[in-house]
Amino acid sequence: MQELVNRAKELLADGTVSRVLGWKAGDMSYNPEPAYFNSAEELENFVYDGFCGANLSKYMIEASKLEGKTLVFLKPCDTYSFNQLIKEHRVDREKAYIIGVGCKGKLSVENIKAQGIKGIESIEGAGMNDGCDTLTIKTLYGDKTCSYNDAMLERCHVCKGKEHQISDEVMLESRDTKDAERFAQVEAIEAMTPEEKFAFFQKELSKCIRCNACRNVCPACSCRKCVFDSTKYDTAQKANVTSFEEKMFHIIRAFHVAGRCTDCGECSRVCPQGIPLHLFNRKFIKDIDTFYGEFQAGEDTESRGPLTNFTFDDVEPSIVGERG
């Protein structure tokens, strides 16, 4: 991690960049926050470890409006988002100096707490130089351990790979974390009866409090004005008054990012109610792959997205019923 700080200081010092966008150590071991660093002194608070799950590419929309270049640290999966944002003209490549940072799987404190661990005072073993097999957790109620993999975010178990899609330089080693099939969860739901499917989503979505965290964190949801906020079209929604509105919001949100969603998993990471929101996006990704050929948003900055494209012999919508 120190090498990141050193490199950032160099780039600041030689004027390559005007500021650094990274993660700042939090007041607990597990809550670093995205932050700008404008000087070498500020960089003393820089941190990069297993808890730096936040995808910084969306912050680059604002950073692109600032004077000078911003040094941004992007994890492999974040680079897909950045590419997609370039494609949509939302970030300025020229305003970014990208250091691709390695990733050994990102952690969720929720997963640790789900194991009954509470009163966490400190967590050891999440650093980039650590072995990434066990986390040692000191709590108010005694010392605990937790396997690194068990504490990992869902997205890391189905990792797209640790290759950076765009960067000016790459630093730090990565670790392969994929140990599950990307579409297994989607397939499990597809195999359910309509009643089971309905019950599953009804239960999950009933937790939604419409805080919009999933939307606001999403690098694809970068609209200046979301249709659900806009009073212009009579489509605004502020709360889920009925279960319909939950469904409407999550379906349309997923639809609007279909073909643009890189599957970065931020929506599920930030949901305060632990709703597996990635399922919606991944369902679209799976359908797109099946119907229109494999497509990974953010692999490049040029190609047409599947929903702005077509072939003459695309499947008919009736395939949905025929599939059974």
Binding site: H89, R90, C223, K225, S230, L307, T308
Partner: protein
């Protein structure tokens, strides 16, 4: 909210027999915004329209709903009526209670209920209508024809004859195109040059036609009626005004090793050359890649021998910028590369040739002065085999999926001409199907078989194997007799598929004209608008749109010309006001809408935006109303809803949905 008047038509008994029109009037009167409702026998009649007129004036109506027949029938009528009464015509909505209601339902109560719902939807919509004004744009009375083959020449002549200026841009040194390479034409067997040359001369001499040869379209901006085009006149190295076309330079040029493009590489040409004798303009160009002067700085013979002093080594590319109202694409075709078909041994044997090469061989001005001879040894062939569908109707990636359409006929022509001139030559044709749907086409083919004894075998050729004795062993199957065929041949002629000229994709991109996966330009409607591109003001002529023969090409060229003339004849264009419109405050500038626009109507500009006090420079979409046809693809592609369609806005459609579902 509008002050809405609702007019319910009886349509005699067409509506009134199944819909209780009085009840409809009563029910719609309660709807929000409705301040007037009435019914009448025939709303579309003059008396009916007068009632609308009167109500608009008396009640100060700002929105009209007519419950009547389909809007496809009388929407225009009622819009005009409203306009006469001083209302914007787009403040009229029609509830279709005849075709969609009274005519298909038997039960009066049910039909009446439905009529009320349909009327409600129309009222809900009209309440959100806004007056729309068709835009106007001026038309530049000049057309550009891209491509100087028979399609382009014909289009240009037709447009010019109608009195409009036309420019032809041709990338080779001469106009004439593929047709100039042909020897004879089917089914009449008249000489290609004999019918083409006069056309070329006519075009060149036409006072309204300007020809830019050895030139390319560099850049296109603008839109229907007002295109601005940069034409790059490539450096010819000859002063066209001075050159007399005497030809001495070509004779004296020491660099004579360049394969002749015109003769498909069957012989060579000099570095300074005119492609063929009848070239127009009859002014040579210097091929700078072949010219010794350009390569080494020495030589300069042509300059010395040119008495006119026309040689100009210093000449540079020149950009001509011109405005046009209409653009016709006539970029034509080429034949595919056949060396990828190793089984046909094209690259192994000089005696395996394409049909277009055969045209040159048979042409009196061609490499063999019109003598049919093997290119390997100059011997007269005795056995000739023609192989059809080389690269056409292919299911694999190597070839084209489509039928090239002209091959069946020209092969019949070749076979017949050979049998006629050289009765000693046996001609065998391997074919999949023989397609002869054209005037006198089948008769022509039958003559080849019946009168000239051409041997047609239904079946495919698996391999052409060059033999040590210089002959070619053709291995095929006869599907009718279901047997293997081994045939020794002296020459094999491949009917290679045709494909659009390579350049067309670049041109289509510049014009934002759609193009299909085979690189053929897409027509606006396959049946009803076959010569118009979906991009307004762009027309299609000839093979760039799809394979066709000369008569078809000329017919389409004329059709494209008429469409272009129809456009140029207008002083102004009224644009459909139901166009997309981007809300700058909401636009993300993401280009998603532009990606789905079939008309290239959406561009982006970077401008200062004041978003409720936040001042920012943003990239925002802007719709060119002259180009937008109002399909609405962009409105759904736009995630934020910044893009909306006037006349069919999100709010309007949602209001209709709400009204129907309540």
């Amino acid at each position: 909210m509008q002050r809405v008047g609702v007019f319910v038509c009886h349509c005699g008994s067409n509506i009134a027999a199944t819909v209780d029109v009085k009840k409809v009037v009563e029910m719609v009167s309660l709807e929000p915004g409705v301040v007037h409702a009435e019914d009448y026998q025939y709303m579309c009649s003059e008396a009916g329209q007068a009632r609308i007129d009167a109500a608009i004036k008396e009640k100060g109506l700002t929105g009209i709903v007519v419950c009547s027949c389909s809007p496809r029938m009388h929407e225009a009528t009622f819009r005009k009526a409203a306009e006469r009464a001083g209302l914007n015509p787009y403040m009229v909505e029609i509830a279709n209670i005849r075709e969609h209601c009274s005519w298909i339902h038997k039960d009066m109560e049910e039909a009446t209920k439905k009529a009320v719902v349909l009327a409600r939807a129309a009222i809900a919509k009209v309440n959100l209508n806004a007056p729309l004004q068709p835009g106007e744009s001026l038309v530049t009375k000049r057309a550009l024809v891209i491509g100087g083959g028979i399609a382009g020449i014909q289009t240009a002549i037709d447009i010019a004859d109608a009195g409009y200026e036309v420019d032809i841009v041709e990338k080779t040194p001469s106009i004439g195109g593929r047709m100039s390479q042909l020897d004879k034409t089917f089914p009449t067997l008249d000489c290609s040059a004999c019918i083409l040359t006069p056309k070329m001369v006519e075009a060149a001499a036409h006072e309204k036609i300007t020809i830019y040869t050895y030139s390319e379209v560099d850049k296109v901006t603008g839109f229907v009626g007002d295109f601005t085009v940069d034409i790059r006149k490539k450096a010819r190295s000859i002063d066209m005004n001075k050159c007399t076309g005497c030809g001495v330079c070509q004779e004296k040029c020491p660099s004579k090793k360049t394969p002749s493009e015109f003769n498909r590489g069957l012989n060579t040409r000099s570095a300074i050359y005119t492609p063929f004798a009848q070239a127009i303009p009859n002014v040579p160009v210097i091929d700078r890649d072949a010219c010794i002067k350009f390569k080494t700085g020495k030589c300069g013979i042509c300059e010395k021998v040119c008495q006119a002093g026309a040689i100009d080594y210093e000449q540079k590319d020149e950009i001509v910028t011109q405005k046009y109202g209409a653009i016709v694409v006539a970029t034509g075709f080429d034949v595919i590369k056949v060396d990828q078909y190793e089984e046909y041994a094209y690259s192994q044997s000089k005696d395996v040739i394409t049909s277009l090469e055969l045209e040159r061989i048979m042409n009196a001005a061609g490499p063999t002065k019109g003598h049919l001879e093997r290119l390997s040894d100059g011997k007269h062939p005795k056995e000739m085999v023609f192989i059809q569908c080389v690269g056409s109707r292919c299911s694999d990636d190597k070839g084209k999926s489509y039928c090239s359409k002209i091959c069946c006929m020209y092969t019949a022509k070749h076979a017949m001409l050979i049998r006629d001139k050289y009765p000693d030559v046996n001609v065998t044709v391997f074919y999949i199907d023989v397609r002869t749907p054209g005037k006198n086409f089948d008769e022509f083919y039958r003559r080849a078989v019946e009168d000239y004894g051409v041997n047609y075998i239904k079946g495919q050729v698996g391999k052409v194997a060059p033999q040590p004795d210089g002959s070619l062993l053709v291995q095929g199957v006869d599907l009718i007799d279901n047997k293997q065929i081994l045939k020794k041949a002296d020459m094999v002629v491949l009917a290679a598929a045709i494909e659009p000229e390579k350049d067309v994709r670049r041109i289509a991109t510049m014009l934002t004209a759609s193009i299909d996966t085979n690189n053929f330009l897409t027509e606006s409607h396959a049946k009803l608008r076959p010569v118009e591109s979906p991009t307004a003001g762009v027309f299609l002529s000839g093979v760039c749109q799809g394979p066709k023969d000369i008569p078809e090409t000329v017919a389409q060229a004329g059709a494209a010309a008429v469409k272009a003339i129809g456009l140029l004849a207008k002083d102004k264009l009224l644009t459909n006001p139901c166009t997309a419109k981007a809300d700058e405050l909401m636009c993300n500038g993401c280009s998603t809408c532009a990606n789905v626009c079939p008309y290239g109507a959406i561009t982006y500009e970077t401008k200062e935006i004041n978003d409720h006090g936040i001042r920012e420079t943003r990239r925002v979409a802007s719709v060119n109303n002259a180009l937008c046809q109002g399909c609405g693809a962009c409105t759904v592609a736009c995630p934020s809803g910044a893009m909306d369609l006037q006349g069919f806005s999100n709010r309007q459609i949602l209001a209709e949905v709400d009204a129907i579902c309540r």
